[in-house]
Amino acid sequence: MQVYKAFFKVIQKNRAQILIYLVVFMALALILSGAYNPPQDTDFTKVKVNIAFINDDGDSQLVAGLKTYLGENANLVAIPDETQKLQDALFFRQVEYILRVPAGFTEDMLNGKEVQLEKTTVPDSTSNIYMDLLINKYLNTVKTYTTYLPGLSQDDLSQNLEKDLAEQSKVTMISNGTHSIYAEKSGYYFNYLSYSLFAILILGVCSVMLVFNDTDLKRRNLCSPIRSANMNMQMVLGNLSFAILTWLVLISASFIMYGSFMFTATGLLLLLNSFVFTLAVLSISYLIGNLVKSRGAMSAIANVFALGTSFISGVFVPQELLGANVLTIASFTPTYWYVKANNEITAAVSFNTGNLSSIFTSMVLVLAFGVAVLGVTLVLIKQRRVES
């Protein structure tokens, strides 16, 4: 395992540069994700609208039914039927909706004629729409009965209306989880992690590849009785070990910050996603390592690549705020899919086939990137070997 050992000695010699990136990036990621405060959830309270109900039709079971139905869903406020007082009530928001039942309403309804209720509302208020929906629901139900059961007595009609309108749809909560306060914070941390991972792996892998790809050393190694396949295997092992070590160091901070949250489904998915991304980044770093010829180029590429992909893929600026064209370009980088999966993982309160399939699709795409780039690198290496 001479090559494997030499791999880590080279890494160790470059540890200062790598550690600077590691410490600075981890500190920044910790500060930025720590400073983020997700919006607090508010409890839902049902609020009833204040309305005034004025009846010009006279007492009928149909009108009484309407009043009772509205009374169940709104607060009926008694206002004298005087224009000035009604206008004042609206102006001072004593009521937000005034409904006037016109004369002949009951008869027209029972005879299936068009009926128009009068309403006075506060302009552009949501309560207006809400009340319209309630009233339309009542009237439409009456119309259904009068159309299809024309001989129905007012008594029966009222009973049927009361029964029908009392019907409520059953709502089942599909979600059974709670959204942890760490979910979004950890999402930010894992998004930032992509930048440091890219920079560190490019620097580490390239610094080793620069050494081992040196023509004289390569030729000297070829003179030895170690098989090329064996040497390559040791090199692959070295790269993998370095990548996994870097990943472990970077994720260790998430365990310190978020503790047991990292063992929940969300935490584990974030870890899995970051591991898959590590493999893709390793593959890209290996390609860059086989392309660069100098340390200057290595640093430049590490910065440009890590920063560039992070900016366009939504690491620093949320993907929702990026333009469609930028996102289209970003979709050709694994960082985009990694961040997308991270966002989906942290946004989900619970996991089902729908959101999991989207998350795993992103992970598979990241992995596919890695495999494709590795394929290109191997072809490149083979091509060079043939040329030399």
Binding site: Q2, K5, A6, K9, V10, Q12, K13, N14, V211, D214, D216, L217, R219, R220, N221, L222, C223, S224, P225, I226, R227, S228
Partner: protein, 310 residues
């Protein structure tokens, strides 16, 4: 036989780097490959080591065909490249340990071999130094230690003394002779004829991808007409007729530059006395006199018509 190369041809496009190159190396000898830059020495070595593909010919090492996959053969070969091939990120000790470890897997044995190699090249005080901190001479010694630490039976040294100061060069040459005394067969390429003359038991002179002469130092010098170079410092050269010197017996050529007369003569007895008698008869005063035997450069010059150092 340690190495047997037959009819090796290597082309780089239209350029023929090795032109039906033949070489036989016997066990226990130090064979010097001497030739000017571009004569094909390094190409020949690279082909022998299977670092280069060749167009034609066969190479056998220890009676086995050499190939990139001939790992059993490679185990017996030590290589010291023309360019220093060490890791700048590893210390002197770690470098030697790395290269030795490619041949010897046992840790204890390796530790002993590395210590011996460090001792052999005299780098005991620099074990923890990184190569960048070493002088050119020490770096060359490290390069040699990396090549010989595993105690190979065959050592190939490709111009190991390029850009090395005279003191370090002497140390390196003495070390190579010591390796040979310990039983290693050595191939030594150089364009420094003095080194090759000093350490090699047999010399092959190369030009244009071919071996143009081969034999011991004495054998090679016997191949040429030139016997000795007689150098004389003349006090009154204006009174001398150069043509008369040239007409003397055994004189091949005579050149007068300023006060310096250089006469090349073929093998014959009393050449110097004859010249001195002639100059005395002409009343020409003489300052310093010295005579040199022919060099390998003379051999090369006579065979190819050009200087070895061209």
């Amino acid at each position: 036989m340690v190495i047997n190369v037959k009819n090796l041809v290597k082309r780089y496009g239209n350029l023929i780097a090795l032109d039906h190159f033949n070489l036989e190396v016997q066990e226990g000898e130090i064979l010097g490959l001497l030739g000017p830059n571009g004569s094909g020495k390094t190409t020949a070595i690279n082909c022998i080591l299977s670092l280069l593909k060749y167009d034609k010919g066969t190479i056998e090492i220890y009676d086995q065909p050499m190939s990139p996959e001939a790992y059993a053969i490679k185990r017996n070969i030590g290589v010291v490249m023309q360019n220093v091939a060490v890791f700048n990120e590893l210390t002197v000790y770690e470098n030697i340990d790395y290269f030795c470890g490619l041949y010897v897997s046992d840790k204890q044995t390796r530790k002993k071999l590395v210590a011996e190699a460090i001792d052999f090249v005299g780098l005991n005080d620099f074990k923890k130094f990184y190569p960048k901190k070493l002088s050119g001479g020490l770096l060359r010694r490290l390069n040699i230690a990396c090549g010989i630490a595993h105690k190979p039976k065959l050592i190939i040294l490709d111009e190991p003394t390029v850009a090395v100061d005279p003191q370090s060069r002497n140390n390196i040459l003495e070390g190579i002779m010591e390796l040979n005394r310990q039983g290693a067969t050595i191939i030594y390429t150089s364009h420094y004829m003095e080194e090759v003359e000093q350490i090699c038991s047999r010399i092959a002179i190369m030009d244009k991808g071919k071996i143009i002469a081969m034999g011991t130092n004495e054998d090679l010098k016997k191949m040429i007409k030139s016997g000795e170079h007689i150098n004389l410092e003349l006090l009154n050269p204006e009174e001398m007729e150069l043509s008369e010197i040239k007409s003397l017996p055994h004189v091949i050529s005579a050149e007068l530059t300023d006060h310096q007369l250089v006469v090349k003569s073929s093998r014959g007895k009393n050449n110097l006395i004859m010249i001195l008698d002639h100059l005395k008869d002409q009343n020409i005063g003489i300052g310093k006199i010295y005579s040199e035997p022919p060099t390998l450069n003379d051999v090369f010059l006579e065979i190819t018509g050009k200087e070895l150092r061209d």
